[in-house]
Amino acid sequence: MSAVETSRTIVVTINGTEYEREVEARKLLIHFIRDDLDLTGSHIGCDTGNCGACSVIVDGTLVKSCMMLAVQADGASVETVEGLSEGGELTALQQAFSDHHALQCGYCTPGMLMSATALLRANPSPGDDEIKKALQGNICRCTGYWNIFEAVKAASR
């Protein structure tokens, strides 16, 4: 009888770079991104999928990367916070976060930026409630969300 397969080689493209790695079948996508690839911009704030600090975009869809296994991302194209700005040039959204003091400790910020980026791609002119709903899956303990809302609103058109 052959041994049970507990790991697999996957190919994932992250921010345009292709990575081929052997991963344990049970490894979460966020741990793969952070621990195996050392892309530490995406964060972990809970064990239960509530906080959204690990939010990334997988094949165009916003995903909490602690709720997905790394092997499920085989063949996928993933975007993380590190991929937002090009050549050190901040996106309008990133700049708006700074302008509106939408971050304090900065720990939730990468997830917030990915959620808001996904929103603004789908709807460049969201209404107030749409912005709040888009941020509903991300916890921030520093700001009270008011300034995050203002930043996203400023980056919308």
């Binding site: 530490t40 911009g41 916890i139 303990r141």
Partner: protein
């Protein structure tokens, strides 16, 4: 939320040229919005092992056996650590308390007994996070359960199990505080309002980043390096060094970015000791990142407090004469920072009010719950919630207007600086004006019309005020009121500012910021003194105890950076400015220093600006081109300054003295609407007015106000660490512990007043913890909404919908807690 966050500044600040006072872009932001911050879990080392803690499933039990052999046999498991090993390798942590709390034997892992669900019993280290967790399930621990103590009110009853046999009972610390003349006050009173019981609940700020560390051991020199997010390394060091039998120089603390702290990251020293012992035992770097559930189970719950047998002496017109009460504090299973909460509240003994006769009997007991530790507003929040509840209950029961009662009793602007009955000196402020501003922001003049309008929709509208103080810059001498033997007093903070070889201005801080923007505000202060741009000022990110820029009280906690940190920066920069002039004087052939000025990134002769020496030349001359300079020049261009606030040791006998240097103030007003059918309610309008003296960066200040308000709203409505009768935590993760989300936030209006502190070098006051005002305001608003609908008294600080529904359906339960008697 659009147009829902409005700012007013009723007393416009004088606009002057300079960096301080401007909301410049934060230096920290560029890295943080690009995911380029370095948080503790981002730090990796070759061959590091991941720690997982095996935790107690029992609230109270003897440990009868521990077997780690199966776990250690797994391939990829590097090793384990048990309480027995810890007890042989370390001494118990130093206790701040007098007996009986002094007798606790607190080790980094449970030894012989567990005292709360989630207490760490064994540490397992493996090559991956997942494997360490798997292996932990193979650790065999036998327990012999004991009855748990989960209600502080029963902790000292006969026959109750004792948590710490060495202490002899569950009493940890007690003290009586009394100032003024209580008998005279109660004799003078027209009415005595009695409140049998009030309860401040258990919660904390749940920073999004949990605790963690990467610990390396340098065997050759016997030194540990701890990359950690501990927010008060000075305290961790004095706890850890003696326990680990090493000098403090063997413990190097390094931090860059910290994902929120709020006081909750002060007492991670037990876990850090475990990591240190494992790094030495296993001869490899040890990585520890707390899981969210671990944090909820074991870290820094805020102090749960009861207030019993309160009596308030009042004149018929609402003049408050004094009160007496008994505070019962639930410390949880260990005294990790306690019993300091037993004195910290006294920083704000009378709240914002002029009553002069106060007696408070403070008792702290141990229970089978997670240990309490500082949480934003530490111990003052509990006490100020109590004083605000007293004000609103008195007004409610005597049929007085809570606004009028406050204005009648607030300490007045003309009384400042004001010495409180216990010797604290409130530095400045105008509380009545703040209240007017706050009421104006929510349109209080039209509140009765809004109440009627809500009523027509079937909703009960209520308005409530929370007025609080954010006392900052501790005089650690107050610890002697807990234990006269303690050798702590005063406070200090350090900064160094140097001019490097290419003219770089490099600043190091002793602090451990968690989002407060220290790099930015420090640069503002430096740039103003050196007459350069903030872009020319490099402030090192984070903390390193090997930088020589820290002292015993270094860290970021207790509302003090704007005073201690920035005053240290100011002092060091002024030293550097003087040295630059001294150097230029020598270079310019003896021009008096008084004739020199700093401008445009260099030093020049004021009346001959062409005689200009750029900072780059200054740095190069001293560091690399110094032949021929006078022997006695006395210039290093590397200046270290220790700021020491002007404090005296308090009078321990009388419990009298100034316990903090500054007293920032907040007045919040909340408007709620309750659905009487369900008890569900919504905060429909909210105003927060803050006065923290001179603001170096108004946007950062407002951000702190907003964040503290959001935490208060969460605590007032949902957040609680609730235990069942067996001592199981019912809210061990973000599913059950509901923190506010974007959709939960009410419209917010902020306002500010600037009353510069006369006692601080920059006129600043520490701030950031004033959010407790939100809890008080919501409690008051709910009580106000229920007025005429059963007249329930709000007696608990947390009022989820079901509790409001209970107050509506059975108001008698809370009404039985209060009575008014004619004096």
């Amino acid at each position: 939320m659009s147009d829902m966050s409005t700012t007013v500044a009723p007393a416009p600040v004088e606009v002057k040229k300079g960096w301080a006072g401007q909301s410049v872009p934060r230096k920290e932001d560029k890295r943080l919005v690009q995911g380029e911050g370095v948080f503790v879990d981002d730090v990796k080392r070759h061959g590091m092992g991941y720690v997982f803690f095996v935790r107690s499933p029992y609230a109270h039990a003897h440990i009868t056996s521990i077997d780690v052999s199966q776990a250690e046999a797994i391939k990829g498991v590097y090793g384990t650590l048990t309480g027995e090993e810890v007890a042989s390798l370390t001494d118990p942590f130093f206790q701040l308390s007098t007996p009986p709390g002094a007798h606790l034997k607190d080790f980094a892992l449970a030894v012989g007994k567990v005292r709360y669900v989630g207490e760490a019993v064994v540490a397992v280290v493996a090559e991956t996070r997942e494997l360490a967790r798997d292996a932990s399930e193979l650790v065999e621990i036998e327990y012999e359960p004991l009855d748990p103590v989960t209600d502080a009110r029963r902790a000292q009853d006969d026959g109750v199990e004792i948590l710490h046999e060495d202490s002899g009972s569950n009493l940890m610390w007690e003290g009586v505080y009394e100032w003024g003349d209580l008998d005279a006050a109660f004799a003078e009173a027209d009415k005595i309002v009695k409140i049998d019981e009030l309860h401040f609940h258990r919660f904390n700020s749940t920073p999004l980043e949990t605790d963690g560390a990467l610990v390396e051991y340098n065997r050759g020199v016997g030194q540990w390096t701890l990359y950690t997010n501990n927010q008060f390394p000075g305290f961790a060091a004095i706890m850890m060094g003696p326990a680990m039998r090493c000098g403090l120089d063997k413990l190097r603390f390094v931090t860059q970015d910290i994902g929120g702290g709020f006081g909750n990251k002060i007492t991670s020293h037990p876990q850090l000791v475990v990591c240190c012992l494992l790094a030495r035992k296993l001869n490899r770097p040890i990585q520890w990142t707390e899981w969210r559930t671990d944090f909820h189970l074991s870290m820094s719950h805020g102090n749960e407090r009861w207030f019993h047998d309160t009596e308030v002496a009042v004149k018929s017109d609402g003049t408050l004469l004094g009160f007496r009460t008994k505070a019962l504090d639930d410390a949880g299973a260990w005294l990790r920072y306690e019993p300091l909460g037993g004195v910290i509240w006294a920083q704000v003994t009378p709240g914002m009010y002029r009553w002069r006769n106060i007696r408070l009997e403070f008792t702290q007991v141990a229970t089978n719950k997670a240990p309490v530790s500082p949480n934003r507003g530490y111990s003052r929040m509990q006490h100020l919630w109590f004083t605000e509840r007293v004000i609103d209950i008195v007004a409610h029961e005597l049929g007085l207007d809570p606004v009028e009662v406050r204005k009648r009793n607030y300490i007045r602007a003309e009384d400042m600086p004001y010495e409180t009955p216990n010797g604290c000196v409130y530095d400045s402020g105008d509380y009545a004006q703040m209240l007017d501003v706050a009421l104006g922001l929510i349109g209080h003049d039209g509140i009765e019309a809004r109440r009627a309008e809500a009523s027509a929709r079937g909703k009960l509208l209520g308005v409530g005020i929370g007025s609080t103080l954010d006392s900052g810059t501790n005089n650690f001498g107050q610890s002697r009121m807990i234990n006269p033997e303690l050798q702590f007093s005063g406070n200090n903070e350090v900064a160094t500012v140097k001019l490097d070889i290419f003219g770089e201005i490099v600043v190091t801080l002793g602090t451990t910021p968690q989002g407060q923007g220290h790099e930015t505000t420090a640069a503002q202060v430096v740039a103003d003194i050196l007459s350069c741009s903030i872009d020319d000022v490099q402030v090192r990110a984070g903390h390193d105890s090997y930088w020589n820029s820290h002292a015993g009280f270094s860290g970021t906690y207790a509302s003090q950076f704007a005073v201690t940190g920035l005053s240290a920066v100011k002092g060091a920069t002024e030293m550097l400015a003087a040295e630059i002039k001294k150097l230029a004087s020598a270079i310019f052939g003896g021009v008096p220093v008084e004739a020199l000025e700093l401008a445009d990134g260099g030093v020049r002769i004021a009346e001959n600006p062409d005689a200009f020496l750029p900072f780059m030349a200054c740095g190069a001359i001293i560091n690399a081109n110094n032949a021929g300079l006078p022997e006695d020049l006395g210039v290093t261009l590397n200046c270290r300054y220790v700021y020491r606030p002007p404090f005296q040791v308090p009078d321990v006998e009388k419990k009298f003295g100034n316990l903090t240097l500054t007293y920032a103030a907040q007045v919040h007003v909340a408007v709620v609407e309750i659905d009487p059918e369900t008890g569900a309610y919504e905060v429909v309008d909210y105003a927060a007015v803050d006065d923290c003296g001179k603001r170096i960066h108004p946007q950062i200040v407002e951000g702190q106000v907003m964040g503290a308000t959001a935490q208060a709203l969460g605590a007032a409505t949902h957040e609680q660490f609730e235990y069942d009768a067996e001592g199981n935590l019912l809210t061990p993760n973000f599913y059950d512990y509901h923190v506010p989300h974007a959709l939960d936030m009410p419209p917010l209006k902020t306002g500010s007043i600037e009353s510069p502190s006369p006692f601080t070098p920059l006129g600043t006051k520490g701030m950031g913890e004033g959010g407790g005002a939100g809890i008080h305001a919501v409690c008051a608003a709910v009580q106000d909404a229920l007025r005429g609908h059963g007249d329930a008294i709000v007696w608990d600080s947390c009022n989820p919908y079901h509790r409001v529904w209970e107050m509506l359906s059975n108001p008698g339960a809370s009404r039985s807690l209060v009575s008014v008697v004619d004096a």
